[in-house]
């Protein structure tokens, strides 16, 4: 039987009259790295904060390592590595202070790993947190989280503000860590090309709703981009083929569809020479799902089908 490390049931959170997260049900198995994708304000941060138990759900519940988020057992809370976008150490604290703080709570804190990561950025442990650049701050916080050897990682835009080389280093460290320790991670990010290298699954949230949660490999296999001329007449797609989105520009129509291998063959036969069918990157898939809001997308689909 699969072991679910993270489990949410109808997780909902309202801020006043605004529903930030709407009925999210998710089960994440041990050792999975989940890319949490969605546009700004989609509900990613709220989702991670609910999982961490920082805020109370309006409805539903969430569990990490079978412990309810809002009342986590002592043995569980120290096994979670969290890096949010609204938490920062005091400006006056030195890197050494932060190392001691994290080491106090993470019984298995890897000082050598942390010191290596500090030296990698040519920093000194005597430096105060406030004197660091935005990228250096992110690097130090990520180093603290990974050195704490958590079983579960909840990371909200961990690479934001890092230069490309540091970003790559961070994701390499993250990949090595989750592989070695069989840790489970949820990484909310906008930089899809980076996370694509390390994620096993993708969860897309838009307007507080979980639109899709699937293995990345499946998504790559199933999602296709169809490019055809705008002059092409209306194509009657079989019902099994799910149209995710599309756009029309410069005399070319682009459609993103989701189908299984058998249906893909049908599709190829149906379209013949009229169109080109390609596999898509996660970024394209994500854009197909979230670029347009549902009304706009429906309207554009009608237009393209015409």
């Amino acid at each position: 039987m699969s072991e679910f490390v993270i489990n949410t049931k109808n997780l909902t959170r309202d801020y006043g009259e605004n529903r930030a997260l709407d009925n999210v049900n998710l089960e994440i198995e041990k050792g999975r790295v989940v890319a949490l994708l969605g546009p700004n304000g989609a509900g990613k941060t709220t989702f991670l904060r609910l999982l961490m138990g920082l805020i109370e759900p309006t409805e539903g519940e969430s569990f990490i390592l079978r412990s309810p988020s809002r009342n986590m057992a002592e043995s569980v809370v120290s096994k979670i590595g969290y890096m949010g976008d609204t938490d920062e150490p005091p400006r006056w604290s030195t890197i050494r202070d932060l190392m001691k703080l994290q080491a106090a709570v993470s019984g298995d804190f890897d000082r050598d790993f942390f010191m290596r990561s500090v030296e990698k950025r040519e920093l000194s442990v005597k430096r105060s947190y406030g004197s660091l650049s935005k990228g250096q701050k992110k690097w130090i916080r990520a180093g603290l989280v990974l050195a704490g050897k958590p079983a579960v990682l909840l990371l909200d835009e961990p690479a934001e503000g890092l230069d490309p080389s540091a970003r790559q280093d961070l994701y390499d460290e993250l990949r090595d860590y989750v592989t070695d320790k069989e840790a489970t991670a949820i990484v909310a990010t906008h930089i899809i090309s980076d996370i694509e290298r390390i994620a096993d699954d993708a969860a897309v949230i838009d307007h507080g709703r979980l639109i899709t949660y699937a293995e990345l490999e499946d998504l790559r296999e199933q999602v296709r981009e169809i490019q055809m001329s705008e002059m092409e007449k209306v194509i009657d797609f079989p019902n099994e083929i799910e149209i995710l989105g599309g756009k029309s520009s410069g005399g070319t129509k682009l459609l993103w569809v989701r189908c299984r291998e058998q249906e893909r063959q049908k599709l190829e036969k149906l379209l013949g020479q009229k169109a080109t069918i390609r596999t898509v990157s996660l970024e394209t898939f994500y854009l197909a799902l979230t670029e347009h809001n549902s009304n706009k997308r429906d309207a554009e689909l009608k237009e393209i089908k015409k």
């Binding site: 805020i55 809002r70 949010g84």
Partner: protein, 216 residues
């Protein structure tokens, strides 16, 4: 629940501005006041009140980034609460103890004798010896209450202004009690009992609330 020195260090640093201001103010006031100090001294009562508010506010910024950071390190809520209360005690003692020692040693009477040639200096230490304990009692009553009120008002719960009114009422009652020089023995006993109940209730309510507080 464990005492975490590294966490205490950060919490103590948060309340340090209040400590650094209160320490010299308290010491100089006690050294330089010529009248014999009593538990009814309004300036020291105001000092205890303002110092308590400052500690509660500085250690309870629940919307600050630092708080979110501390609450996501892996400490349990109870650990955080316990260390916060411990830090409150340290912050108070850092100010209260030097002030009390100035009275008890007796540095105050010596200074009053040599510098100000105060006629009261021979009786000062004897008459003022119990006064620091009253100030400490004031901290013990006000701080758990202010901590609770400050957490409570920052939470998205109903009745936020109600708890502020409660704190104001307690301060007014203490102020009224201070207006009267002598209280009957039974009334003093009643005050002690009520104060103990209020301290215990504030601590318990604060701890329960702290377990459920939302960190923004």
């Amino acid at each position: 629940m464990k005492i975490r020195i590294s966490l205490l260090k950060i919490l103590f640093r948060q309340t340090l501005p209040a400590t650094l201001i209160a320490l010299p103010v308290g010491c100089f006031y006690v050294l330089l006041t010529k009248q014999v100090l009593s538990w009814r001294n309004p300036w020291m009562a105001l000092f205890v009140l303002v110092h308590s508010i400052a500690i509660a506010v500085m250690s309870g910024r629940y919307r600050s980034k630092t708080f979110a950071f501390l609450y996501t390190r892996g400490f349990t809520r109870d650990e955080l609460w316990c260390n916060k209360m411990l830090n409150t005690t340290f912050s108070v003692l850092t100010v209260w103890l030097p002030v009390a020692l100035i009275i008890w040693l007796p540095i105050r009477s010596a200074v009053q004798d040599k510098l100000f040639v105060s006629p009261y200096f021979p009786i000062m230490m004897m008459r003022e010896a119990s006064v620091p304990w009253v100030w400490l009692g004031g901290y013990a009553i006000l701080l758990p209450l202010f901590h609770y009120v400050w957490i409570r008002r920052a939470q998205p719960l109903r009745g936020g202004s109600g708890v502020i009114l409660l704190a104001i009422s307690v301060v007014i009652v203490i102020g009224i009690l201070m207006l009267f020089r002598r209280h009957p023995l039974w009334f003093r006993f009643l005050i002690y009992v009520l104060s103990t109940v209020m301290i215990a209730a504030s601590l318990i309510a604060g701890r329960i609330l702290h377990r459920n507080l939302e960190v923004q």
